[in-house]
């Protein structure tokens, strides 16, 4: 499989949502999609220049969402039609499992299962353009927090808690990852970051970040975390 596979996994997820209304609502909607997924884990893999090879043909990944109906629909889809199109071949879903969520507290440590993207808008030559921000820029944290609160408010119809959210990465754990996502015949490159970090804030916000993903473009496979 190619190194840039986010769009492939994303397509699998959309295709496997059994509830058609929900699928079209997610796909067509312009707002947040409220789910995220991890990078692929390939236990027996071999890396080549342009692709990765799973020697035994097995791989797995995690999906997470605060939307229970979506998860339910996905599981239903995978069990109903375990055979899925994958690139030009076909793979079978062997099994689906649920993960026990952690106990959410004000202070937690996480590590990313898929890298985090945070963007900002900058003016260049009189035109507003989007830029990926890196964790050395304070804007990274400000926008990460704003994004999480916005997502929470949209999903729950409002947020009445403390918006304070402090994210402290372990500097040595930060790894940049460049990911290409094809979009309408063009190729868009994103600078995303894997990291371990400590987060402090309202446990509701932290839980929502765990379910939905931190940062932006969650539904394209960015920002998924697990307790570290």
């Amino acid at each position: 499989m190619p190194y840039n596979y986010n769009h492939v996994v994303s397509a699998i997820i959309y295709r496997r949502i059994a509830d058609l209304d929900l699928a079209s609502q997610l796909h067509g909607g312009k707002g947040f999609k409220f789910f995220t997924f991890s990078q692929l884990n390939i236990p027996r893999r071999k890396a080549f220049k342009n692709f990765l090879l799973s020697e035994d043909g097995r791989f797995y990944f995690f999906i997470s969402s605060p939307n229970v109906e979506l998860i339910k629909s996905l599981v239903e889809g995978f069990i109903d039609k375990p055979e899925i199109d994958f690139l030009r071949g076909r793979v079978n879903v062997e099994y689906v499992e649920f993960l026990k969520p952690p106990e959410f507290q004000r202070n937690m440590k996480f590590r990313t299962l898929s890298p985090i993207i945070v963007k900002t808008v900058k003016e260049e030559d009189g035109v507003l353009r989007q830029w990926d921000v890196n964790p050395n820029d304070l804007k990274f944290y400000e926008n990460l927090q704003k994004n999480l609160v916005r997502k929470y408010s949209e999903f729950h119809g409002g947020y009445d808690g403390d918006e304070y959210l402090r994210v402290i990465p372990y500097q040595r754990s930060i790894k940049r990852k460049r990911i290409m996502i094809p979009k309408e015949d063009a190729e868009t490159y994103h600078r995303a970051y894997h990291m371990k970090f400590r987060v402090e804030g309202d446990p509701r916000l932290i839980e929502f970040g765990y379910d939905c993903g931190f940062g932006e473009k969650n539904s394209m496979g960015f920002g998924m975390v697990v307790p570290s």
């Binding site: 339910k72 069990i79 375990p82 993960l99």
Partner: protein, 604 residues
């Protein structure tokens, strides 16, 4: 609530357990003597004077007589019936008139034989027995006693072995207990013994009968039908009644002569607070737990003055002296009383305990029988309001010196439990005993009433079923038990006070919700049984049970999902149950999971 205020008769509980025990004792006393039940007593109680001044004193004296009477001196049933008939079918002007009639004509007749027996004992076995007799009896009694003594000596010396067969002991003299035995020996019985013994024995028996005849004649002449006994013989004619519980109280005192006994009983019934010192207070003369007025050493309750209680209960002392009658003696447990604040339930439950007395040998059986009757009463009387305050009260002894509580056990049922039990379908379905060990069984209903969760019982039973160690097959009781658990033990808030307006709708709702939960669990259970192949079910059951015991929700769901990935139809039918009732249900997921396990067992 279905309670109706029943009483014009006034025969109801007061809310004070001590007085209420007396009310129950009063009812049981009348039931014992006249064979009438609570409802009939209530009917009669509309004519209060007849009940309290007639039926009560006669029954009370009869029961005191019968308590220690021999077969010969027990109050004859015919006399009791005759009294009851005459009392109920005559017109009376006042309570005092009824009491006079009762005492003079019937109490005296009822007490005659026991009095005669005591006098006979006194003459035969007491050193100065003859000296205490009135002069008109002395000569004739002395003469007969002399003959009797000679005969006794002869019998004991010559026929010790044969007497041993008749009396059951060897002794140099007869004992007071022997009198009843001697009187009960018939001529036929004596045929197997030597003629010499037979002749002397008959002669001795005739002596006894002659003495008794003399006493009977004297009693009839001076006492029966008389308003007063001769003043000089007042103590001689004392009714030989004694009650350990009220040893020092009025007519039980040994110094109380016949007339005093009569007056004291009337004082108690008419509750003449002003006239009689002892009735001015309710103190430890009645019960050890009350205050002693002389030395206020053992003050357990506040001092109670009768004046205050008079308006509270018109016949207070009638009930108080009936207190000990409420208790039933059980082997190994002592004196036991089931008490609730409803007379009907208390009466019925205690009656049932009494009927089953021979089978009740320990606390567990006592509770089981009690619960069965409580539930029957609950259904019939619908007095669920009474069920919140129920107690088992145990005394070690009802002796005046050692009135000691062994235990007071609170066994109240909450409103919610009562509401659940009142539903016929639910009750019938959990009125089951489940095998949970080799020889261990649990009655689901009892467990519920005791507010214990039912799921552990169901789980233990499932283990038995899974390993084929029980022949029990039914599924419905298991599902109902789990459905109840899911509602009773979910959403319990630790609030001390609850808005009364919210209680009632919640009670009604709980039954509905239990049935809904049952429906959902049962459908899921059937889907498992019908859509997952038997082999798969049998292979997975133990593993799932073990996961459930370890309380690992996610492993349970994931293991189930692995099975369901092979059984598409089953997955579709169960997916909502899995998500809503197990995965997203933090509080009661284990109960819903246990319901699924019953499906893995199969059966109906």
């Amino acid at each position: 609530m279905n309670f109706e205020f029943k009483e014009e008769s006034g025969l109801e509980f007061t809310g004070n357990w001590f007085i209420d025990s007396g009310v129950l004792g009063f009812v049981r006393l009348l039931e014992d003597i006249y064979g009438i039940e609570l409802q009939e007593i209530r009917e009669i109680a509309r004519r209060k004077e007849i009940l309290y001044f007639g039926l009560f004193p006669f029954a009370y004296i009869c029961s005191e007589i019968n308590r220690k009477a021999t077969a010969h001196s027990r109050v004859p049933k015919d006399l009791i019936n005759e009294f009851r008939f005459e009392l109920l079918n005559s017109d009376w002007e006042s309570g005092e008139e009824i009491f006079e009639f009762t005492w003079n004509n019937y109490v005296t007749r009822a007490a005659m034989k026991v009095w005669v027996e005591r006098k006979l004992e006194s003459v035969l076995f007491k050193k100065n027995g003859v000296d205490e007799l009135p002069s008109d009896l002395k000569d004739s009694v002395t003469s007969i006693k002399k003959d009797a003594d000679e005969l006794e000596k002869k019998l004991v010396e010559k026929h010790a072995d044969d007497l041993n067969k008749i009396l059951g002991h060897r002794s140099k003299r007869f004992k007071s207990d022997d009198i009843a035995k001697i009187l009960s020996v018939t001529d036929d019985d004596l045929r197997e013994f030597p003629e010499d013994l037979s002749y002397s024995f008959k002669e001795y028996r005739d002596c006894l009968l002659n003495l008794m005849g003399l006493f009977e004649e004297k009693w009839k002449r001076d006492v029966v039908g008389k308003e007063r006994v001769p003043e000089a013989l007042d103590l001689f004619y004392r009714l030989p009644i004694d009650n350990k519980f009220y040893k020092n109280f009025l007519f039980f005192q040994y110094s109380a002569a016949h007339q005093k006994q009569k007056e004291s009983l009337l004082d108690i019934i008419s509750f003449r607070v002003e006239d009689l010192e002892v009735l001015k207070k309710v103190d430890k003369t009645i019960n050890k737990f009350l205050t002693s007025y002389k030395k206020a050493e053992n003050t357990y309750y506040a001092p109670l003055t009768s004046r205050h209680l008079k308006s509270f209960s018109e016949y207070l002392f009638v009930y108080l002296i009936s207190f000990d009658r409420a208790f039933e003696f059980f082997n190994r447990m002592g004196y036991v009383l089931f008490y609730s604040n409803d007379l009907d339930i208390t009466y019925r439950v205690n009656r049932k305990l009494r009927i089953r007395k021979s089978k009740i040998e320990d606390q567990s059986v006592l509770l089981r029988v009690t619960w069965q009757e409580i539930i029957d009463s609950l259904i019939e009387l619908k007095s669920e309001w009474a069920l919140e305050n129920m107690y088992i009260i145990k005394y070690r002894d009802v002796n005046s010196q050692t009135q000691r509580f062994v235990d007071v056990e609170y066994i109240g049922i909450s409103k919610m439990h009562a509401a659940i039990l009142l539903d016929d379908v639910i009750r019938e379905n959990i009125n089951h005993t489940l095998q949970v060990g080799k020889s261990e069984y649990v009655w689901l209903l009892e467990h519920l009433i005791q507010n214990k969760p039912l799921k552990p019982v169901v789980m233990r039973h499932l283990v038995m079923r899974a390993s084929g160690r029980t022949g029990q097959m039914s599924i419905k009781p298991l599902i109902y038990a789990l459905a109840i658990d899911s509602e009773v033990f979910s959403g319990l808030k630790a609030c001390v006070f609850e808005d009364p307006l919210e209680i009632s709708p919640r009670m009604e709702e709980v039954v509905f919700r239990i049935k809904e939960a049952y429906g959902e669990m049962n459908t899921a259970r059937r889907n498992v049984t019908e859509l997952i192949p038997r082999g798969t079910r049998e292979n997975t059951l133990n593993h799932l049970m073990s996961i459930l015991r370890r309380n690992n929700r996610y492993l349970f769901v994931n293991t189930l999902l692995k099975i369901l990935m092979q059984e598409n139809e089953a997955f579709h039918r169960l997916k909502n149950y899995l998500f809503n009732r197990i995965l997203q249900n933090d509080e009661t997921w284990d109960i819903y999971a246990a319901a699924l396990l019953t499906g893995f067992l199969g059966g109906r």
